[in-house]
Amino acid sequence: MDTKLSPAPSHGNARVAFAWLVAFAVLASLPLLLTADSNKFYIELLSKVMIMAIFALSLQLLIGYTGLVSLGHAAYFAAAAYATAMLAPESGPGNGWLLLAGALAAAAALAMLVGMLVLRTRGVYFIMVTLAFAQMVYFVFHDTKIAGGSDGTYIYFRPEFPVPGLRQMTVNDPSHFYWMVWGAMGVTVVVLTLLLRSRFGHALVGIRHNEQRMRAAGYATYRYQLGAFVAGGMLAGLAGFLYAVQFGFVNPEIASWHQSGNAMLMVILGGVGSLAGAVLGAFSFVLVAEWFSTMTKHWQLLMGGFIIVAVALLPRGLVSLPSVLRVKMRAPGARNGGTAGDDDDTAQEAGGERRSPRNTEAA
């Protein structure tokens, strides 16, 4: 896994590659360090965080690289989770690989169907229409009797993952499941990196920058966007599948628009147009939410304030924090005759630069 990760960073920067490696290595070793029973909670929490990171990564493909701001991404997450719950046999553990395939197929099929409709619109329409279709999925699960209605439905046995030539791989132990999610996140990062390096990925970034020009250059932009939409939906489905396996329970709330909003929040909080940003955003979002919820019953109020402050102060996300800080720290030394206002300008410029080099490089 680790060796495969070396080409992961999208900008071919050795330092960034090293950072990915260290991050994944640290994550992989955590279950070995946190062995006490009391630490099970943290292992499960981190599994949840990584699942949300996969979810955020899948949305990053749409928002950050294709320019499709979807506010209904929870629909594919939920479609896969529900498919897992409905396909799982009630009498004994199911075959995890088959369930995974079913879940991904369900998410992809839904993304295909919705994508064909929503891609007829652009900009703010797109935001509203994706939200509305996700809400439709929510009502399908909520109002009809197909899977327990508003109460949701259970997966009675954790699926098993048979590996040819080896013994059954089970995920009953939290740390085993943790490593499985870790692997899934690694696969997601690698797949997205390879995708973005391919001709297809470059076309997507081109479309994000100027769809008209790409069409003039002979690209069937609709097909590229639909491809990205389905790919994003499938990866969201991977997250939804893991969610269903972890909690053994699905209810319509996972298709609610709060789920979509949270995913979008992670992407923007971390930084639009960066895979690391999506992961960073997911980690900070879930952990901050967890922290707030231990402080007060009304933690959503703190969360709302946190979001507003983040939007106002760090419009380019957490990944821009180092460059903003670097400029702020360099500024006092370079200040001869320049006013404080100038320093702020340079800080903003440095933040602003984030967008151009990354995008041109990816293009």
């Binding site: 329409y125 939200l131 009304h298 507003i308």
Partner: protein, 288 residues
């Protein structure tokens, strides 16, 4: 379905549709003129309902509470635009979505802290608390007819203001070209603030007059917001006329859907939206 209950369902559809129009027209105005997509708009509807609840129990009469609430709403909208929205115009839609999403969380929790999470009812004002006989054995509450009448009045007033007054001229001009209006010596900042405050007032008004019929409950804002998105998508963004037509259409589809096809009524309006998208991706009416 006999003719009388058909008539009653029609009246219900119109009443629901017109209420939707009040909320959606504010949303579409704010988007059409300022280019801000405001997810917190549903919260204003919720705010209206809770204002009706608070003021009606304070003053003892909804008829006094409504004008009072509107004054508060305009002031609230004016300040809110100043503090949270005035710097959002230059940002992209993504950040607007996020910021207003944060506001929703704040509003919902403030509501939970101040009023609690119980469902409340607001009494119908005594003056309007009666019903009209329809046919031989059916009646229809006068209050519901009043809702429709108020909404129609507001719609007519909006038409007059937008089409026939100087403010309306500025609003239409501002929607078309912000810089040009500014260079002609009109204070766009204040204009935006006024439009935003009016949009908030419309949603608050809708929430207040709907409160006796729909009761007052947590999460009512999000529900109405998403339906309003459907209205705006069907009607065409920025078009008040489109919002009116689409609201009425949705009112009928939703009401009759619940009568004939109870299990999947929640899904119907989204299917309608899908069909309209296939037919006219830009909505039924162009902005203007």
């Amino acid at each position: 379905m006999d003719i009388v209950s058909f008539l009653i369902q029609c009246l219900n559809s119109v009443q629901y549709g017109l209420l939707l129009f009040l909320v959606a027209s504010g949303l579409t105005l704010i988007f059409g003129i300022m280019g801000v997509i405001n997810l917190a708009h549903g919260s204003f509807y919720m705010l209206g309902a809770y204002l009706a609840f608070a003021l009606a129990s304070l003053t003892g009469n909804l008829l006094i509470a409504v004008p009072l609430g509107i004054v508060l709403a305009v002031a609230f909208g004016y300040v809110l635009e100043w503090v949270f929205f005035s710097f959002l115009y230059e940002r992209d839609h993504l950040q607007q979505v996020l910021m207003t999403y944060g506001l929703i969380l704040v509003f919902e929790e403030l509501r939970s802290i101040l009023v609690g999470d119980d469902v409340h009812g607001v009494p119908v004002p005594a003056l309007l608390d009666g019903s009209l006989p329809i046919g031989n054995d059916m009646t229809y509450p006068i209050y519901r007819l009043c809702i429709s009448a108020v909404c129609l009045l507001v719609a007519a007033a909006m038409y007059y203001v937008i089409r026939r007054t100087r403010l309306g001229m500025m609003i239409r001009a501002g929607a078309t070209n912000r810089e040009m209006v500014q260079s002609l010596g009109i204070n766009v900042t204040v204009l935006y603030r006024v439009v935003f405050a009016l949009g908030v007032a419309l949603a608050v008004l809708a929430g207040m007059i709907a409160a006796p019929v729909s009761s007052v409950y947590p999460g009512m804002g999000a529900q109405v917001l998403i339906v309003c998105f459907v209205v705006v998508v069907i009607g065409g963004i920025g078009s008040v006329k489109g919002a009116l037509v689409a609201s009425l259409l949705l009112g009928f589809v939703d009401t009759f859907g619940k009568v004939f096809w109870q299990d999947a009524a929640g899904v119907l309006i989204y299917l309608l939206m899908a069909v309209i998208l296939l037919w006219k991706p830009q909505g039924l009416f162009k902005a203007g």
